[in-house]
């Protein structure tokens, strides 16, 4: 073997492993908290199809391409698809979940400020995938 010390490599590998353990532990802890859906979250059924989004609120009202929610409340999205895979995305709130035919995927969020945000599809779904967009309106509470 070569006549040099291997200690630098051992120390280096140990540092890399320690970094990975730290990243993994932080990610685990954050994800555990994020996945905990609040008990009072209102359910919105999100349906993806080529090439638009439909939203159905708990009271049965439906919206196409637009979603109106109230600031400060928690919402749980139940995401389904009518044809091919899509991915429901509100990038500003890091809401991302695939819409897969035959499955119901859930993800939740609680808007913190009044405003408008883009809704888009982030999984390739064919011809008009690039324009499968919508708008989220976060509004002040009505009552």
């Amino acid at each position: 073997m070569s006549g040099h010390s291997n200690w630098p490599e051992w120390i280096y590998v140990a540092v890399v492993i320690a970094l990975m353990v730290w990243v993994g532990a932080e990610a685990w802890e954050a994800e555990r908290l994020i996945e905990h859906v609040p008990a009072d979250a209102k359910t919105i059924i999100v349906t993806g199809q080529q090439w638009f989004w439909t939203f159905e609120h708990e009271d049965g009202t439906k919206e196409i391409g637009e979603l109106h929610v109230e600031v400060g409340k928690a919402y749980k999205f139940e995401i389904v698809s009518k044809d091919v895979n899509h991915s429901f995305n509100i990038h500003d709130y890091v809401v991302l979940m695939d819409a897969i035919p035959g499955r119901v995927n859930t993800v939740w969020f609680a808007p913190t400020e009044v405003g408008q945000h883009d809704i888009q599809c982030r999984e390739y779904c064919g011809l008009i995938h690039y324009n499968m967009r919508g708008t989220l309106y976060v509004e002040a509470p009505s009552s």
């Binding site: 890399v16 492993i17 990975m20 932080e26 994800e31 080529q50 990038h91 011809l127």
Partner: protein, 508 residues
Amino acid sequence: MVLELQKPRPIWQIMFSTHHTDVGLLYLITSLAFLFLGGSLALAIRAELFLPGAQIIGDAMTFNRIFTVHGTTLIFLFILPFASSVGNYFVPIMVRYKDMAYPKLNAIAFWMIPPAGALIWLGFADFTWYATPPYSIISAPGPAADMWIFGLKILGISSVLGAINFIVTILKCKHPDMSIGQVPLLAWSFLSSSMIILVAIPTFAAALLMLLTDRLGVSGFFNPAMGGDPIAYAHLFWFTFHPEVYVLVIPAIGMMYEIIPRFSRKPIYSYNSGVFAFVLLSIVGFSSWAHHMYATGMSFTEKTVFMVGTLAAVPASAMHVFNFIATMWNGRIKFSTPMMWAVGGIALFFSAGAGGVANAAMPLDFTTHDTYWVVGHFHLFVMGTIAFGSIGFLYYMFPYVTGRMYNEKMGKVHFVMSFIGTVLVFFTQHVLGLYGMPRRVFDYPPIPEWIAMNQIATVGAMIIGVSMVIFLANMIYSSGKGALANTEDPFGVGGKYYYPFEAKNPSH
């Protein structure tokens, strides 16, 4: 076999040859042809995205077909055949055998590539290189989709045949005086990547057949309307193609292991750690496939398992980087063109790996998944690491193949422009992803940040495009008219090289 342009032979002698350097030459020319074809599609994509709205490419369907064929071409018809070319030239010599173990099988494996490439290019499918069901089953137009499936099927068989050949050549045909611990690291990289191919490819081969019968309507494996599950396809696909990432990158690392010590004029820092990292990577590479699927609705436990599996692959990759830097440390480094490409490739390999750690962390993945971040991330591997290692190695083997020297100045200009271009395109795309731009889009809303970053990326791509023209001119001119190389020591760095033209028992 080599020195073709000094001792010309009729082309059919090369085409029908089974000698390893002839097959290597065929692989080399084919892979470079597809590099330029696939690369020009990339320039078309970047040109289209320079501004929002439709400009160059008339419609979304054409655009979708272009990025599908771009990805398929550069992965399967450039990177893999290029690695096979290097393996064909060097592995038999490194293990001191007269040829590959099965020369006819070797030629057959090569000759599967042109028809597969023709199927992919004449079909021009639109369902991305991932061919996601149910889109690929119910929506993707035929016969393009079916031609793509058959093309990939043929390429899979070709890969498996090549892998068997490399494994047998290295393990069974190496010189009796040579222990496995004396096999050079470049040959070790082919042993590792071939082992991965044997384990990984059959899964996707099965999935492709199921996809085909689903498209024919006789089965419903992945079609929810017939009780199937698209997620099953995702698992089968990524079980093959996450390890496949290592199949692509390991030979490129092996090429750097040949270049770095040669131009540092020092032995490799630790041969054992290189071998260990190859073997470790090819095992751990199988524990991370579903990190591509966090957003498909996986449970917390599943995501945790695959995050740990992904992070576990990092130390092995990091060991290679350490090994390279420790080898260069205190070396009398000569920055000839191959060395510049290898060092640039290592820097980009490190950047790509660091970005990969961010992807693997579950909460961050939901920000980056399916955005341009991911596009930037994997291109830093396939372009920044693998293509850089491969092109560096092409410059390195150029005097051996042609007997002439390439133009050193043009080689360096090629490197500098490509490096600047690669950083401009792919680092920018990381940031663009953080701003939320989805990948695989023909058009985008006129958000000022998106426009600015797309324009930077397009400029970078054009710089790479120009550098590739310089590269092509250099290769063509120098192989015919370049200065004669000193084939004992073409780079003037001393030491013992592996000479392809020392190959024994040429078949002609």
